[in-house]
Amino acid sequence: MAFKSTFFAPLSVILTVAALFAEGVQAAGEVNLYSARKEALIKPLLDRFTEQTGITVNLVTGGADALLKRLQSEGRNSPADLLITTDAGRLYRAREAGVTQPVVTEALRQAVPEAYREPDGHWYGLSLRARPIFYAKARVSAEELSSYEGLADPKWAGRICIRSSGNIYNQSLVASMIAHQGEAKSEQWALGLVKNFARSPKGGDRDQIKAAAAGECDIAVANTYYYGGMISGKDEAERQAAEKVAVFWPNQSGRGTHVNVSGAALTAHARNRDNAVKLMEFLVQPESQSWYAEVNYEYPVREGVAWSALLQQWGRFKSDNLNLSELGKYNSQAVMIMDRAGWK
């Protein structure tokens, strides 16, 4: 039929082009990476790895949940060798879904402290992300602050900014509370905290810090790398806002400040296993470790790596050494608690 051939000829051309783009995934000297770390926050390291080893790194970035779903549905034919996420909860979920495999090497075990890796080696943390409290220097003094628990105190009524409960770092924070003190206490705390909100949660972490600087609230909870990005960025308004707030490390007399990791897991059907392990080891080498701090103000997971000047300026702190698998375990419960507490 003339009609069909005229109309489907372009289609076949397009599909051929598509096939061309997909080729070359299985050649030697490669490693394939599904990464929830954004391209800008991982590619430079990968380029350095390729330079040193000659191994090409193929990259797809995306949301951790979506990448995990893709990995699951692709099954044993998945091209991915490594999965990188930006929080421990998703690594836990990947392990539960059976898409990872354990890997134990001397280099990895020595580099990554026990709390920041899966006991059997299903995943390893690469960098730490701390979630402290920020306070407006003009209206709050550090002495008034103590712990996350303290934020539920009625004295903070209408003074706290924190983003939505849809955000994974808030979910992880509440999950860590559940792990430490059980569900009932955590729910009490969430109820008290929600009562103290200055506004219905909106925006990202930077927005909370900006709101505290502008006076809409006095306290913000945010990850430090956003703060670092504001201080060192080119945006004058953001820099001024960041200068009006200071970091407070909560729970120093107790369990320590809540931290999360970005981490990597070897996939169950990795075809380039050796290259993938090489890449994992490369990512926890001291030089790579200090890169996270220089570029994105994250803390090295490896001990003994020098901190950048900015990180040092914020001070040393004691971090929560809860094994981060627990964050994944309690994630659903945390979301339910936040729903019940009316945390939007």
Binding site: A18, F21, L41, A66, G203, A237, A241, S332, M336
Partner: protein
């Protein structure tokens, strides 16, 4: 004019599906696959989580979604119809410019406009800062409307979605003939009365089409509502799926959302059933333009300037400022790859979707049976479904198929075929087709509706096959409608994010992915170069689109 029965060539109910009809049904069902996959989860028990949702957040999701959709409906109608009317029948300074410029907001992704306005209007932004320093106010002493609210989301979405209504109603106004208005005038109706009793009712199918596109896009929006912290069905689906880790409950929420959409679509179809107008008079003349003067001129000018300024000039200006003053993006080779990938995807997806829409739309005309109509409606629902849900709905069946084929080939021949469909660009293009079929289909169907059934009948009785009728008669007449379909999908793919993010192959980024990665990392300013490029690339087809619309009135209607 005659009010015709639906164009039917085959009127016998009993006939057995032939080659064409089977093809149409099969393609429609294939495109409905993701919808079917999502619906298949309805039967998976999700007791606890579902009860939790009902007890805590479901009411919020429902009321916010309903308010958002109603608000956007009012917004796009108020912005779209008067501007379309004004640029069609009045002559005022800048009219020629407005004709195409009013479509420009279409080139701006909704989440980007949300980011730019937040940057401008937020408590720490320049506007409030200026007010504070001008009047010596301090925070808390004055009230300033919060852009990150339900009302703000309604405004953001209305500003970028009204062009659908504008475009469709303008095409319809242009296609209306003078003879009807003259008849009205002879009967003594004034201009307002003419508008409300003749012009608007005649344009209703077109207005409803534009409106339904805008509303479906609203329901599928994730970026804006998520950033504004509004709990809607879309954010609820994500939260249930990822936060509560319950894909069954999430799919059930999605199914509930789709049921609403389906009811809406049926209502729309029903309301349009009796409304088919065919211009059969050969004495076709354009509506005359009325030259405006005095305060009327300025009012109309202002009316058109409003959506253009707030929907395009301000956000694009903010992006420009960011791009020049702050962004670290450099226009290196990698950036050109981004543009190349984006164009490749947008062009291929637009072509594929158009072919599918033409096949289905014409099939529906040939076989006006309920089963065909139903299958096609089902396949066009993708536009109202969040991209991520579509992506997963596409990924699951194709990855399954790939793995089955692979197993079989390994077993029989000892070779591995890998992920033939789900590992290539095929799956991404398929997802786009599912997502944007509705857009293409609406244009194609409105184009087809302008060809009177008499012409089909005449051509068929002269011995043309259905395919030949399409090629020789319909396609030439529908040229500008087809062009609009292509351009609309092109612009939509340019802006598309969630499906691209999940389904793209290795080392394959697009402009939207780049803009989103930086913006979601809260580096709004850094994302501005990619965002601005999306807008710039999108402006070209938008201008072409407006020319197609302008011409459609003349060209499409004349041959009758």
């Amino acid at each position: 004019m005659e009010v015709a029965v639906p164009p039917g060539i085959e009127t016998e109910r009993k006939h057995r599906p032939g080659f064409w009809e089977t093809g149409v049904l099969l393609s429609a069902l294939l495109l409905a696959l993701p919808v079917v996959v999502v619906f298949s989860f309805v039967f998976v028990p999700a007791g606890d989580v579902w009860r939790h949702l009902v007890e805590t957040v479901l009411a919020d999701y429902l009321s916010n979604s309903v308010l958002l959709v109603s608000g956007v409906a009012i917004g796009v109608l108020l912005l779209g119809i008067p501007t379309a009317w004004a640029t069609t029948v009045y002559d005022f300074p800048g009219r020629r410019l407005f004709e195409w410029a009013l479509l420009l907001p279409l080139a701006i992704p909704a989440y980007i406009i949300a980011y730019t306005y937040t940057g401008l209007l937020d408590i720490s932004g320049p506007i409030q800062g200026l007010l504070r320093s001008l009047f010596g106010w301090s925070v808390g002493e004055y009230r300033f409307p919060d852009v990150r609210s339900l009302g703000g989301a309604v405004m953001m979405l209305s500003l970028v979605l009204y062009p659908y209504v504008y475009m469709m109603s303008r095409a319809s106004f242009l296609g209306q003939s003078l003879s009807m208005l003259e008849a009205g005038r002879v009967l003594g109706a004034g201009p307002w009365r003419l508008f409300f009793t003749i012009t608007l009712p005649l344009a209703r199918p077109a207005v409803v089409t534009g409106l339904s596109l805008a509303l479906m896009e609203t329901l599928a929006d994730y970026g804006t509502v998520q950033y504004f912290g509004i709990a809607t069905f879309t954010t609820g689906i994500f939260r249930t799926w990822f936060g509560l880790n319950d894909s069954a409950a999430a799919a059930q929420l999605a199914a509930l959302l789709m049921s609403f959409v389906f009811v809406l679509i049926l209502l729309e179809q029903h309301s349009r059933r009796r409304l088919r107008f065919f211009q059969t008079s050969g004495r076709y003349r354009h509506l005359p333009r009325h030259k405006l003067s005095g305060y009327r001129k300025w009012t109309v000018l202002l009316l058109c300037l409003l959506p253009l300024t707030f929907g395009f000039l301000i956000p694009a200006g903010q992006l420009l400022v960011w791009a020049f003053s702050i962004a670290e993006e450099t226009l290196d080779q990698r950036f050109f790859f981004l543009v190349g990938h984006t164009l490749l995807l947008a062009v291929s997806a637009a072509l594929i979707t158009l072919m599918l829409a033409l096949f289905l739309g014409y099939g529906r005309r040939l076989f006006p049976f309920r089963r065909v109509g139903f299958a096609i409606r089902l396949s066009a629902m993708g536009y109202a479904i969040p991209g991520t849900v579509i992506a997963v709905g596409v990924m699951l069946p194709f990855a399954w198929l790939d793995n089955r084929i692979d197993d079989w080939m390994r077993h029989l021949f000892g070779i591995s075929t890998g992920l033939m469909f789900s590992g290539t660009l095929f799956i991404l293009l398929f997802a786009y087709a599912v997502r944007f079929l509705a857009v293409s289909l609406q244009s194609v169907e409105s184009g087809l509706a302008r060809v009177t059934p008499n012409m089909d009948d005449a051509a068929r009785s002269l011995g043309y096959s259905p395919a030949k009728v399409l090629m020789k008669i319909h396609l030439p007449i529908m040229r500008s409608a087809l062009f609009s379909a292509l351009l609309l999908v092109f612009v939509d793919v340019l802006k598309e994010l969630p499906a691209t993010l999940i389904l793209r192959p290795f080392n394959f980024n697009t402009l939207a992915v780049r803009a989103y990665e930086l913006a979601s990392d809260e580096r709004l300013a850094d994302s501005s170069v990619a965002a601005l490029t999306i807008v710039a690339v999108g402006v070209i087809p938008v201008v072409l689109l407006s020319r197609a619309v302008s011409r459609s009135g003349e060209r499409d209607a004349v041959p009758t």
